[in-house]
Structure formats: structure tokens, C-alpha cells
Symmetry: C2
Subunit: 366 residues, 2 copies
Amino acid sequence: MEEPRKRARPGRTPAPTGRTSRPRQAEVARLAGVSQATVSLVLGARKQGATISEETRRKVLDAVRSLGYVPDPAASRLAAARNNLLGVFSFTSTFPTDVQHSYYPFLVGVEQEAAARGYDLVLFTGSSTGGAGAAGPHALNRVRLADGCLFLGRHAPADELLRLVADGFPVVHLGRRDELEGLAWVGADYVSASKEVVTHLAGLGHRRIVLVREDDEAAASTDREHGFLKGLEEAGLPGGPAAVFRSADPEHDLTAERLRGWLDDGVTAFVAEETDTGDAWRALHGAAHFVGIDCPNDASLALLGSPPPDLSDGPTPTGFDIPRPQLGAAAVRMLAALVAGEQATEPLVACGFRPGTTAGTPPARL
Amino acid sequence: MEEPRKRARPGRTPAPTGRTSRPRQAEVARLAGVSQATVSLVLGARKQGATISEETRRKVLDAVRSLGYVPDPAASRLAAARNNLLGVFSFTSTFPTDVQHSYYPFLVGVEQEAAARGYDLVLFTGSSTGGAGAAGPHALNRVRLADGCLFLGRHAPADELLRLVADGFPVVHLGRRDELEGLAWVGADYVSASKEVVTHLAGLGHRRIVLVREDDEAAASTDREHGFLKGLEEAGLPGGPAAVFRSADPEHDLTAERLRGWLDDGVTAFVAEETDTGDAWRALHGAAHFVGIDCPNDASLALLGSPPPDLSDGPTPTGFDIPRPQLGAAAVRMLAALVAGEQATEPLVACGFRPGTTAGTPPARL
DNA sequence: CCGGATCGTTAATGCGTATTAGTAATGCGC
DNA sequence: GCGCATTACTAATACGCATTAACGATCCGG
């Protein structure tokens, strides 16, 4: 019987024995007189299964302290088959020089929630070639190094995004995105929030309310209009096209005449949507000021969102706040669920009602 | 001869085959019809030794693209290789709710420079138990997953920081930190910048200049004083204790009388340091206003840094700007050098001189 | 006093990648 | 046609830790 000749042992050369490297579990085990597995069990504080005697535990912990052992996170993560890393991808720089367009408020929540769940964050910037070297058309692939990835802004190419989803890679988009089949997202509940503002106005006694919105098909705009109309309907107030003023250039189209016309028609409250530019609110605000309206005594104003920075020092508008940190946190929650193989969580986050000072009871009828 | 009975095979249960996991090198190898080792060689772009035919290389790269393969960072690290990840550790949250204390300006530069060098960033937040489960006293240890780590703020425990350094892990601290032997850091060159401000004032004709500083031993304060005195010396102006007004509570101690006294003594220019609170500048500003000084006609003022937010709408103070984004970029450059096994780069970053409008020629002598 | 249950520990294995010794195939000179 | 060098690739490790089947010891009830 011929024994197959044992091949020599290839592989890496053993580390130079001279160097004092940091201690391993094996050395802790040797010092404590137990096996490496026992050390791992003691340190792991695992859920169940293994039981360790108090004496052994003490010996191991003593050895750990005396050697100054610290676990190697790379090995832990490899063995545990999870990196505990969540990606955050933004096509433009995550930290733009122009702070105006920054994702900062979202990141506040993202970081908190991720930390609370034991995840670290990996930042990917779309514009750069980045880490793994996978540049060009497959730049999105880099994110696969994480356990899942959050996408900020709508600049990530749809096909690549869907490819990730199709491959079963956990992905969550921050901001409503239901045009992409299968893509999980979280977004603010503009419908409910807008409805709540109308309900509030109706509760103050307003019977004719007009919405000023820009000419835009974005979900953020149409959602607000839906909520607005829904609020009118539930309050039994007149809806229909007359209740919505839609203009591509509200600052120009929302004239003093038009405003006076509405007032003469019995309109007592006006609602503007929030947009990037804040034009709707600015136009409404400007026209009201020009006509000499004493707000909220002559008429009430409300804003479906936050005022633009240049108007932020005026009176606080009645309306709602977009809960950006909460949106970030919700996105992380959903992503964590997907990573764990669970169902996506609730995508809509409620906006907080902001009482403000621009809405009051309607003026007494003449 | 009794063959020792072969033990059954313990170990982990194989992963549930159903889940589509991220592709491994083994799968790439299978698809390309080569061995896993070949895949590693192709992707590694190693120094020398192995030669790979162009055809094989192409097959492997095709398979990589088609599967969307990305190397596992933990496995790379464990196998003693790079993973192109740089850590960013802040003991407090990286994105605090209070934007005032944020590291944002630094991160702008950090992100840019890291992207330019092909690194992705991993955010480690110290306050949480975080990633690998290394809680409590070993929270810092998580950063070993990356190739190196940047530390923000001075809250990271010194012993753990030094432990990382001692173990040869590349670490850079953002902010001067020479009290910790062996720790690499980058910081702003307050000495040169402060000197430059004095030189500017001297060039305008000022012969007696006073520095107002808080009672603080921080490097940021003492550096400014050094630079200030150095500037006086080089300009041949009187230095010494009389040129520096030091107070724990400048707003209270910097009285109108004191200011008038200085003016009577021929002092024509005043310099304040920047601190967290901005108290020195606020006190100087306030006293000058109270005394009725017409700045810069009656006297010149300068600020060694940026004004506090509440005074940011006043006239732009003559002084210098702390180049936070550049500091972040410089820190990344140094970290990249350390990761590559090179010497640390220059730790000091120059501050930009800010002309401002609060300094002019001294008033004509009576 | 024997079969079974419980407890404490260990041997063996896997996680995914990098490295290196070895090998088969080919080219080269004489 | 025979060594020897070169090329192209693969097998077999190692990295450090987590997991789990198996095993010895002790305890227990009948």
C-alpha cells in the first residue's frame, strides 16, 4: 500500500517569531490553562448553549487583563459572517461645501440610529472612484462591501440601483421613490401633515381656503395637494380646482389683484407648499404684505414645510416641520430590518404640526 | 492496528443555501473557470512573482463585473492586506444635533481628500456600544477594521489611543496633540498666522499693540501668544508682559478705564484670540464700542481666528481664518502616508490672512 | 449499580482572502 | 533528446475568532 506522499506545506511563511505582537485568544487560553474556544465563549457572552463555570470565567478574564488582550475586529466580523457596516451613498459629496444642500439633518438621525443598533457607517461618494477601484459604470457596486446601503438624493442611476435590489442586496432610498419597482424607501407623510394643517384652519373657523403651489409633478408637491384637498373634504369645505392656485412663477402670477379677489370672495386662509426655492411662500407672503394684510387678524397663512432661509427671521409660519433626523433614523431601521431578512418597516414618517403665529380665527363677517 | 475512529465533524452548520449572499472569490473563480487563488492574484495586482496571462485576467475581470464582486473588508484585513477603508472616530456623535460643535467643516476636506485617494470612510461613533460588540473600555478597538483611523476631538481616551499607536496601527489626530508621545497629528499654524497679523498691523504703522487673551493653557492659546510676541519682536516693537492682557473673565475685566489707559499710553491696535466662547473678542469689541472708538480710524482691532456667530454680522474683523477643510485634507494625507508605511507628512497647515475692515493706519499723533 | 440527564470543556471546522510552495507545460540551447 | 529556465496556474495553507458536535465527569432516580 503506497501512502500518498504528503505534500509539503505551502501557504504563508510564519510571522517572524521575534516580534511581540498583540496577544491572541490562543495565548490567553494558554495562560489561563483552557482552550481557545473557552476564551471565545467567555468573552462572547453568548446567548445560550454554553455554560461556563465561575472559576474558569475568572481565570480567563484575569489572563485577558494581564495580557492586555483586545479582540481583532476583522477576525470577529469574518467569523460572525456580518460586518455590521451600513453604507451611506450620495452621488454628490456627502459633505458639500455649500451647506445649504447638505444631508446633515438626515445624517444626525442616521448616525444615532445606526450606533444604537451596533452598526458602523461607510460613506460612499458617487463622484469619486472610491475604494474597491470599481469605477466608471459600476461605481455603485462598491457599496456591496457593507451589509446594506442607504441612498441619499435621487441621483443614483436607477438601473444600477435595481440591479442591487434584484441581487438581494438590502437597499433603502431616503425619499419617496415608488416609481422604481421593488426599491424600499422612507419618506415624510406629506398627505397627513397637509391635511392636518387644513383641519387646523377649519377648526379656527375658516370656510374658504386656497392652496398656492408651483407647477411641478414631484411627489412632494402632489402629496401636499392631495392632503390639502382631503382636509377640505373632511371638513366639508369647498374643494375642486378653484381651491388650488397653480403657477410656474408664483412671484409674478400671484398679483395683488388676485389676492384681493380671493379676499372679496370670502377666502380667509391661504396655504403655500414648501419647495426648494420657497417661491410659493415668498410670493404669498409678499402679496399679503403688499395688500396690507394684518396676519393673522385679516387672514391666516400656513406653510406646508419650513420657510426658506431668507424668510426664517419673520414670524413662525403655521404649518409643519419635516422631521429629517427621524427620517434618517427610520431609514436605518428599515435597512436593518432588510439586512436581518425581515420585512421592510413602515415607510412613512409623520411630520410634526407647527402652531406658528400666522393663523388665527377668521375676521368677523361684515 | 486499530485506526483511531474518525470523529464526526463539528463546527458551524453550513449557511442556509437559499439566501443569495454576496458573491465570493470562489464564485468568481468558478464562473471564470480558474482557481480562487488566481482570482485573488488578478485582483490583487501584486507587486511581482505571479504572472497572469492576459486572457485569464480578462476572464476573471469579466466574471467580477458580471457578478458584482466586491472584496470583503474583514477578510482582507484578516489576511493582512488593505481594504481601502479609513476610519473617522469621534467620541461624541459625529453629527451632533447642535450644529455649532460639529466637525462638518473638517469632514468636507476629509471626504474630498479620501475620495481623491481612493479611500472610503468608515464612521465610528465612540459613545455607542457600536459595531463589533466591543463595548465599554474597548470601543476604540473597532477602528482596527480599517487601514488607519482619524480621530476628531480630544475625548478619546489617551491610553487606548496610545495602545493603537504602539501596536503599529496608523492613527492621526486632528488637532495638535504633542503631549501624547508618538501620536501623529495635524493642526493649524497659529504661531505663523498670529505673527502675520502683527506684521500687518506694524506695517500699517502701529507701534504699540496689545493682545487680549483668556486665562487658558491650551496649545491654541499659547501658540497665538507666541506668534504675537514673535511678530512684535521681528517688527522691533515692545513686547513683554505689558503687551499681553490675560484674564479669566475678559468681559468683566476689560473695563473702559483700562482701554482708555492703553489709548493714553499710545496703544493704537488691539488683538484678541479666538476661543470657543469668543469672549476675548466680544469683550474687546464691547469696550471699544462703549468708549466710542471709531474703528479703524481711532484704533485698529484684529482677531486671531473667526468671530463667534452672534457677532458674525458685524464688520469683518482683520485676522485669519482657520482652514478647517484643509486641515481635514491634510490629516487624510498624513494618514494615507502612515498606512503606506511612509513618514508622517507636515503637521502644520497655514491659516489664511483675512484683511477685514477693522484695521487701518493709526491716528495721527497729536 | 446502571441508564440517562446535566454540566463544563474541547476538538474541529468555517468565515473569505492573501500568499507561497509546488507543478505542469512550454521554450531554449546544445 | 536532455537538462534547465521560464511561464501560468493551483493546492494548501494562515489569518484570529465563533460556533457546535462530541466527550468526560458528575449527579440522579429507581
